[in-house]
């Protein structure tokens, strides 16, 4: 297991490099929230989820809904690395004619289950998928990844209520609680705390973890699988921009990409030699 954790950590570091390089090239996209969520996506795609990149529509796959769709670059680099589509496609991120839209688009990108990007809608779609899987008596699971600012949308709580009401223990909600949104600190813009208490009150099994601790993410997702009769919400405390020191904890890097001048420094932070 120790080896496995180390491998996942190394994978997450590589994917961070891919995120930084991809966003530097596209000159448009969301850096901070992609770097804060990538450790969770790494554990999901490389350890926890049953999925087959050669067969994206495989009936026995687990489902991932990136409700905070603006972190699409994090999902795209993982999908490309897993083999859902060629890595060269990343060069066309947000470009006319490419399939990698600014926000995940299931019409064009293999491995993307639904369209997200309008915040607050993803969890409802995840609830619907979880209901569909249970109707089919499937043992597959649904993972929904949310932002903490996104929790301000009322629809999130409608969805949480229905997930608990329908006892969706095949649904795991991961909250990328990086404490920041576009206009600043979540606590100052529109406080959502206590996130854990809220999801508990809405009927979820709640876990609070360090969202950059790979072993803790693995343990939380394992625990969620054992919970019966209710959904699990994992409140993952994270750092926006994680891994690139000068991006960390800065709301200003929400939707700003690494400049030519920043690229080598960013790659250095991630232990990547410049070329």
């Amino acid at each position: 297991m120790k080896d496995k954790i180390a491998r996942l950590q190394e994978k997450a570091r590589k994917l961070r490099i891919d995120i930084v390089r991809t966003l530097h090239r596209s000159k448009s996209g969301h850096t901070g929230g992609s770097l804060s969520v990538i450790d969770m996506l790494t554990v999901l795609y490389y350890h926890k989820m049953r999925h087959d990149p050669a067969n994206p529509k495989w009936a026995q796959r687990d489902r991932l809904v990136l409700s905070k769709g603006h972190a699409a670059p994090a999902q795209y680099v993982a999908l490309a690395d897993c083999g859902y589509f060629p890595k060269e496609d990343l060069q066309m991120l947000r470009q006319l004619g490419g399939h990698l839209q600014g926000h995940p688009d299931s019409k064009g990108t293999p491995g993307v289950e639904v369209c997200t990007g309008s915040l607050g809608q993803g969890l409802s779609m995840a609830v619907g998928m979880a209901l569909g899987l249970s109707l089919d008596k499937s043992s597959n699971r649904v993972y929904a990844v949310l932002g903490d600012g996104e929790l301000q949308e009322g629809q999130i709580w409608e969805a949480a209520m229905s997930a608990a009401h329908y006892r969706l223990d095949n649904l795991c909600i991961l909250i990328d609680a990086n404490g920041l949104q576009i206009d600043g600190e979540v606590a100052k813009v529109m406080n959502v705390e206590s996130i854990g208490d809220k999801f508990r009150a809405f009927g979820c099994h709640v876990l609070e973890i360090d969202g950059h601790d790979i072993a803790a993410i693995v343990a939380a997702l394992d625990e969620a699988e054992q919970v019966k009769g209710k959904p699990t919400a994992v409140v993952a405390r994270t750092v926006k921009g994680k891994g690139v020191s000068f991006f960390e904890n800065k709301a200003s890097y929400h939707g700003v990409t690494p400049s030519d001048e920043e690229l080598p420094r960013a790659l250095q932070c991630l232990g990547d030699c410049c070329d």
Binding site: S26, S28, G29, G69, R94, Q95, L96, G97, G98, L100, Q101, G102, H103, D105, C115, T116, G117, S118, L119, G120, G149, E150, Q152, E153, G154, Q181, I182, D183, V186, V189, M190, V192
Partner: protein, 312 residues
């Protein structure tokens, strides 16, 4: 045409001016104040600025409540969220009671660019136009934006103002008089008329210039208020030129083209071509490339004009 300014930037400037002039003006935003430019008001009048977080429906409902207590609320976010997420709040809490709420949305149309189809509202004019009591304004440049926002503040009732993300050429100068419901003729012509709104008005002016080079006399009518629309100006153009090409950065269904088709169909049927987004969603790309991709360039207007002239 020399100086370029985004309509959202003009909005930020005029909002700060209005804040100083009228203590009843209050502003709400949904975690996009830097992008919508309401931040300029927020800096000056923090006690009259309410950041509602990523909760557009609640923002619009709260604006209706502020209006009910005598304030003049301006509620802003991207067009897709103001009109999309909060539509029923707009209808029930704002338009139905005829509440004095101004919904000023930025980042409309395909020129949102790289964010892609999920963020490019191409239906908002149609949706807002269909709501009773709602006034719909789509300014063409920064000067007009400022005047339209002032007019909206002075008018008692719901107003939707549709603004853009990118810099657009300035067409008007300070002597321009804006009035809700009034269109304006920017160029006379006798062979056909371009009826345009928003950033497409500048494209129509450019198209008319191209056509003048090949001996075609094209009139250009700018329609900032899509509802209530300036019927007389459009009917006169129809009667006098016999062919109308509408131009909007919006679906051809239900927006300016739809409004003009309804009007002409009932009162003065003439040759008509609607230039706009052809019942499609947007896609990621650079704004200028997307204008080409969706056929919103002066050349496309020239082509549409020639098609109609061929039928005359």
């Amino acid at each position: 045409m020399s100086n370029m300014i985004a309509t959202r930037d003009a909005y930020g400037e005029v909002l700060a001016e209005l804040g100083a002039e009228n203590g009843d003006v209050v502003v709400l935003d949904a975690d996009l104040s830097g992008s919508t430019k309401t931040s300029s008001f927020a800096k000056k009048f923090p006690e009259r600025f309410f950041n509602m977080g990523i909760a557009e429906a609640n923002m619009v409902g709260t604006a209706a409540g502020l209006a009910a207590s005598g304030k003049i609320p301006f509620a802003s976010t991207f067009a897709i969220f103001a009109v999309g997420r909060a539509w029923e709040q707009v209808r029930q809490s704002v338009a139905y009671p005829k509440a004095n709420v101004k919904i000023v949305a930025t980042h409309s149309g395909v020129t949102v660019g790289e964010d892609g189809g999920s963020h490019q509202s191409v239906e908002d004019i149609a949706i807002m136009r269909a709501v009773p009591n709602m006034t719909v304004i789509v300014p063409a440049d920064g000067v007009e934006t400022k005047k339209a926002i002032r007019a909206a503040a002075a008018y008692n009732g719901p107003v939707y103002v549709r603004l853009g993300r990118n810099k657009v050429p300035t067409l008007f100068d300070d002597s321009y008089e804006f009035a809700i419901g009034k269109g304006c003729q920017l160029r006379d012509g006798s062979d056909l008329t371009f009826v345009a709104t928003g950033l497409m008005t500048a494209q129509a002016v450019a198209a008319a210039e191209i056509l003048a080079g090949v001996g075609v006399s094209a009139r250009v009518v700018h329609i900032p208020t899509v509802k209530p629309i300036d019927e007389e100006l459009i009917l006169a153009a129809a009667r006098e030129t016999g062919a109308i090409v509408t131009a909007e950065e919006h679906s051809v269904i239900g927006g300016l083209g739809g409004a003009v088709a309804e009007l002409l169909g009932e009162r003065c049927p003439v040759l008509l071509k609607r230039v706009g987004v052809q019942d499609r969603f947007g896609t990621s790309g650079k704004a200028e490339d997307l204008l080409k991709y969706f056929g919103l360039m002066p050349e496309n207007l020239v082509e549409a004009a020639k098609e109609l002239l061929g039928k005359k």
